[in-house]
């Protein structure tokens, strides 16, 4: 079981993971649309396997301030999932959730932070729900943690987890749009070493 990492993902497995990303993000968009009572569109997610040296260049560079929402995965699969949102995207989502104008200005106070955690909860639950259905595995998210800091520092959390058995990271970028407004978010699915194999096995691709 050792050596299973995103390093040696073959192109077929990659297609499967991309499809998971697609279905998961589709579910997440639907959940988001329901929650916000707005019509949300979603573009096809971009799935890439990145080298560590490239990781910090996503989302406008390693020093760019971003919002990270991290949730643990429990059940048959252990690990973490991380959503990374640009600051404008995070503000837009909070404004939508609070029923305010999309350009309403505010600081990330306690209220805004708990709104973001709630968004993380909903996205994660729908994403993992799709994955559960697809794999027949029981996967549940637990309580989210939030950080607003440098992109490089936040992405280092999943990157370190990947680094134990790989020299690269599996990365999925989603773009949700509502009218002319668009929300760009990155998504990292970070199963623990053993869970990664279990996941691919349940999908019938190993």
């Amino acid at each position: 079981m050792t050596g299973i990492g995103s390093n040696n993902i073959n192109s077929f497995q990659m297609d499967v993971l991309r499809e998971i990303g697609n279905i998961g993000a589709g579910n997440a968009a639907t959940a988001l649309a329901k929650m916000l009572d707005k019509k949300i569109d979603m573009s096809v997610p971009i799935t890439r396997v990145m080298k560590f040296s490239e990781v910090s260049d996503v989302l406008g560079g390693a020093e760019t301030k971003v919002v990270g929402i991290l949730l643990g995965m429990q059940g048959d699969i252990q690990g973490h999932i991380l959503f990374v949102l640009t600051i404008p995207s995070a503000k837009l989502l909070v404004n939508f959730l609070m029923g305010r104008e999309s350009d309403h200005m505010f600081d990330f106070d306690e209220m805004a932070c708990s709104a973001l955690k709630e968004i993380g909860n909903i996205l994660a639950a729908s994403y993992l729900g799709a994955l559960s259905t697809l794999t027949n595995l029981k996967i549940m998210p637990n309580v989210p943690g939030l950080a607003i800091d440098m992109a490089g520092a936040i992405i280092s959390v999943p990157a370190i987890e990947f680094s134990k058995n790989s020299d690269s990271v599996l990365y999925i970028e989603n773009e949700f749009t509502y009218g002319s407004e668009s929300v760009i978010g990155d998504f990292f699915l970070v199963p623990d070493q053993d869970s990664y194999y279990k996941l691919l096995e349940a999908l019938g691709v190993v």
């Binding site: 050792t2 050596g3 990492g5 390093n7 560590f52 040296s53 990781v55 910090s56 560079g61 390693a62 020093e63 301030k65 990270g68 991290l70 643990g72 973490h80 309580v143 943690g145 939030l146 950080a147 607003i148 800091d149 440098m150 992109a151 490089g152 520092a153 936040i154 992405i155 280092s156 959390v157 990157a159 370190i160 987890e161 680094s163 134990k164 058995n165 790989s166 020299d167 070493q193």
Partner: protein, 160 residues
Amino acid sequence: MEVIRVGMADLKVAQHPAILTTLGLGSCVGIVLYDIKRKIVGMAHIMLPSSKIASANTNRAKFADTGITDLLEGMIRLGARREDIIAKIAGGAQMFTFSSTTDTMKIGARNSEATKVMLKLLNIPLVSEDTGGNHGRTIEISSEDGKLMVKTIGYGIKYI
């Protein structure tokens, strides 16, 4: 002056004059070595404490143990003398806080600890550090004076 960027799981050494930087350290640890007499400078950006616990260990710069060993060797190859080398470190934060903190979440503290153990083992004095906390850091060192700049979002800039 040329600014040399050190990526994640990467290390670089340079002769004077040079500036070395690594951006957005989270739970990773940035290690700088500086030869105070010859102004030779080196920087590593490690992700994990030990090469012995990981299955993917071909990239030696990824780990505190092998990364610091290689960094020191690189310095010596450029003409640095062991007895004139000092170390400074930064990073090792815990970016997310949960009520139930798992091993994965404590990786920052473990990285700092392993870094210090390795420096001690190699007999390199650690003169200053800015580690722990729950925020990201960008670090930059100039070969001119060996001052290490630590930049943060919300916690300002300091020199150590």
